[in-house]
């Protein structure tokens, strides 16, 4: 424990007020917040010199309970810190930003992949590159992480967090609907054409049965990648959505989404629920995350339809699949950066043995998946196979603004047939590129 920690342990937190600059920016409001917030800016310290590290997550009840079990083990093995879970399942990012702005943010918190670069760019999270270099614990070994996943926790060549999950998109399908339509079940050789033909054959709109269901999910980017295109280059210097490959991918998606010949209409999805329609046996094929319970929900509740898992169909340039990932990062204002880092590494190790799929090559095995979630044992070989093709977005600091523009100017008119990808892409590209760093 460093000198600051010792000082902290001697003096009651409430007696050591500290105002930071951002609190001052709040002007008069900060005056009122001052007294209560001063304590929050302090590290909570036990009499036994144990630093309390607050962890902010979006975990809902069930996930929070599971996380607490992980934390109990981590805390039991920890020396000098105790991680306190502070789940905020509703309006997570709003609350997180507000607490960070007020100087009362948690020491560690979860960030979905699209937020890490932005928070890093604004200096809100700690650069842990140097700490990682001098750390030889397994969770700190960056070479063990899947490179596309690790990249989402990095910005400008520096590392700002540790990913705790890599969840590739898989194709879930309803074998009964395939049998009813006389269509063969998906195989590894499946292509876009096979997917579209099957969707058309399964669809019976009058009966409320649809071949598939798109709703801006899965991300259209995945299909652009599968066609050989790109939305933001890895160098973050261009948005080549008007290349023939990118246009082909986007148009394939646009020709399916909400088209009652293949897919559920927007109103049905909005009212009946996206995944719920699949579980209810109304959707033939559904793109879902590898962790989703679709392929075993029917074993727990016979009201759910039997669903199997397959690899996503290949596009003209390959079978690239989108991987959802998130990282745990350290608040740049934490009073105990070193202890927070120790807690981060310990916590990450714990989560890697709880969540599937762990973003580390050494842990992303059939055995680990089956051990962590026994219900996924049957699907584990396919999930492991999909890991080879997974990737994430290339992310810019102002990703939220970029995503909104992409959605409003490109996706929405495309999905509702206001124009074709070929017509829209050249017009939208410069608008998107204006927002690049």
């Amino acid at each position: 424990m460093d000198t600051r920690d010792r000082e902290t342990s001697r003096t009651p937190a409430i007696l050591r007020p500290r105002l930071n600059r951002r609190v001052a920016v709040k002007g008069a409001a900060a005056i009122g917040l001052g007294a209560p917030s001063m304590r929050f800016a302090m590290p909570a310290v036990h009499a036994q010199d144990i630093v309390q590290i607050r962890l902010g997550t979006w975990a809902a009840v069930e996930e929070a309970n599971e996380l607490q079990s992980v934390l109990d083990e981590v805390n039991a093995a920890a020396e000098g810190f105790e991680i306190i879970s502070e789940p905020q399942p509703a309006d997570y990012y709003t609350k997180l930003q507000t607490t960070l702005a007020g100087g009362t943010g948690p020491d560690l918190f979860w960030l979905s992949q699209e937020f890490v670069a932005g928070y890093a760019d604004l200096g809100a999270i700690l650069d842990i590159s140097d700490m990682l270099e001098s750390d030889d614990t397994p969770a700190a070994d960056l070479s063990d992480y899947f490179e596309p996943i690790l990249r989402t926790a990095q910005y400008d060549g520096r590392t700002f967090g540790l990913p705790w999950i890599s969840q590739p998109v898989m194709l879930y399908y309803n074998p009964q609907l395939f049998a009813d339509a006389g269509v063969d079940e998906p195989t590894e050789d499946w292509t876009w054409d096979d997917f579209r033909s099957a969707a058309e054959a399964i669809t019976d709109a009058d009966a409320g049965i649809y071949g598939t269901s798109f709703n801006s999910w899965p991300p259209i980017h995945m299909f652009i990648w599968q066609a050989g295109g790109e939305t933001i280059t890895p160098e973050l210097d261009a948005c080549p959505i008007d290349t023939p490959e990118a246009i082909e991918g986007a148009q394939f998606y646009a020709d399916i989404i909400y088209k009652e010949q293949y897919a559920a209409p927007e109103s049905a999805i909005a009212e009946q629920g996206f995944g719920e329609m699949m579980k209810a046996g109304k959707i033939g094929m559904f793109y879902g995350g590898a962790t989703d319970d679709l392929d075993y929900a029917y074993k727990k509740d016979p009201a759910n339809a039997e669903i199997k898992m397959a690899l996503v169909p290949s596009g003209p340039a390959g079978r690239t699949t989108f991987a959802w990932t998130a990282s745990t990062v350290i608040n740049a204002d934490t009073e105990n950066p070193d202890v927070a880092y120790q807690a981060l590494v310990a916590l990450t190790e714990g989560i890697h043995h709880w969540k599937i799929v762990a973003p580390r090559q050494s842990l992303a095995t059939e055995e680990t998946i089956a051990e962590v979630v026994p219900d996924k044992a049957e699907s584990a070989p396919i999930i492991v196979q999909a890991l080879e093709d997974m990737r994430s977005f290339n992310i810019i600091p102002d990703q939220a603004e970029w995503d909104l523009t992409f959605s409003e100017e490109y996706q929405t008119p495309l999905f509702f047939d206001e124009a074709t990808a070929e017509e829209l892409a050249p017009e939208v590209r410069p608008i998107l590129e204006d927002q690049l760093p």
């Binding site: 600059r21 709040k26 002007g27 007294a35 909005a270 959605s407």
Partner: protein, 331 residues
């Protein structure tokens, strides 16, 4: 965990003790300057409210004005960057979303406010009749004002679903004129009508009660005099009731305009299709908390304030032509 709650309790005690000390301090100071005992006590007692006003209203008000001239993300390190009028220039010249949102918000207000006002007036007139169990009816019609807006929004989301109650009720009409059931919240053409239908819910709330109070306040002898002069029911309503109620209508109109331009809760909970646009307050929230543009959101807030002020001023300026005050001298 207990220590955390314990320390929070300490926070509250510290604030309470600090406040009490400040009140005694103010009293002592004023007395030292020769201010009377009663006056000093008064100032000391309103001190908590004054502090609240400065800290929670005036402070954020001025802070948002300053922030509207800056580029500022709440989580950024360092001070906001002063950019002058850039946020305002961007809003009016580059931000296509702003115009769409403004059109949506004004469109809603222009239709919703008059409809709501007329509906509330009619309801209040009905509740002003001498019928049996009128107390029960009045209670029933006031119930919507008691329900939380979020619960109402969720209720309407269910009622206005494609297979919801409203479409089920209207299905004979749809069949008659051969149209599909509308998707109220996913069809961009239907989103505004859906919110207007939802807005009518407010008719049966506080506005009705206020207007009912206004109706009750009209002296009976005016109606008696009108009857003697041979006035019919409609003539009495138009020439007695409406003029005598105009002051109350004026108040309800102002509150209605401000409330409709500040609509937030319904749209926040319902999440209609983005293609239709949204309400200005939702847009401000999205800019501030979802896209981290607190400076730009502050500028939007100030433009909205100016728009509301303009509408309010317009109604105030027009009031001399249609609002009757009993004590006012004829010009």
């Amino acid at each position: 965990m207990f220590s955390w709650y314990g320390l929070t309790l300490v926070d509250y005690v510290v604030v309470a003790v600090g406040m009490a000390a400040a009140m005694f301090g103010v009293y002592w100071l004023l007395r030292r300057f020769g201010v009377g005992r009663e006056t000093s006590t008064g100032y000391a007692l309103i001190l908590p409210w004054l502090i609240g006003l400065v800290v929670w209203t005036v402070g954020p008000f001025l802070a948002s004005l300053y922030l509207s001239f800056t580029e500022y993300a709440p989580i950024q390190k360092g001070w906001p960057t002063w950019i002058g009028l850039d946020n305002y220039v961007e809003m009016f010249t580059e931000d296509r979303r702003f115009w769409r949102v403004l059109r949506f918000t004004l469109g809603y207000s222009v239709i919703n406010v008059p409809l709501g006002l007329i509906g509330a007036l009619l309801t209040a007139t009905l509740l002003n009749q001498d019928v049996k169990a009128i107390g029960v009816w009045r209670t029933l019609y006031y119930l919507p004002a008691v329900l939380p807006a979020a619960a109402t929004a969720l209720l309407f989301r269910w009622m206005l679903a494609s297979n919801g109650l409203l479409n089920d009720m209207l299905s004979p009409i749809y069949n008659l004129i051969d149209v599909d059931r509308p998707s109220w919240f996913t069809d961009p053409e239907m989103v505004l009508p859906a919110y207007i239908i939802m807005g009518l819910w407010g008719v049966f709330g506080a506005n009705t009660v206020i207007l009912l109070a206004g109706l009750k306040n009209i002296p009976r002898d005016l109606y008696d005099a009108a009857k003697i002069d041979g006035a019919g029911r409609w003539s009495m309503y138009w020439n007695v009731t409406i003029p005598m109620l105009s002051g109350t209508l004026f108040y309800v109109l102002i509150i209605g305009i401000i409330g409709s331009l500040q609509t937030f809760t319904q749209a926040f909970f319902i999440q209609h299709t983005a293609r239709a646009g949204t309400f200005m307050n939702v847009y401000i929230y999205q800019e501030a908390f979802e896209r981290n543009n607190m400076g730009y959101a502050s500028a939007l807030g100030w433009v909205m304030l100016v728009i509301i002020l303009l509408f309010t001023l317009l109604v105030f300026r027009s009031s001399s032509a249609w609002v009757y005050y009993e004590g006012e001298r004829a010009k």
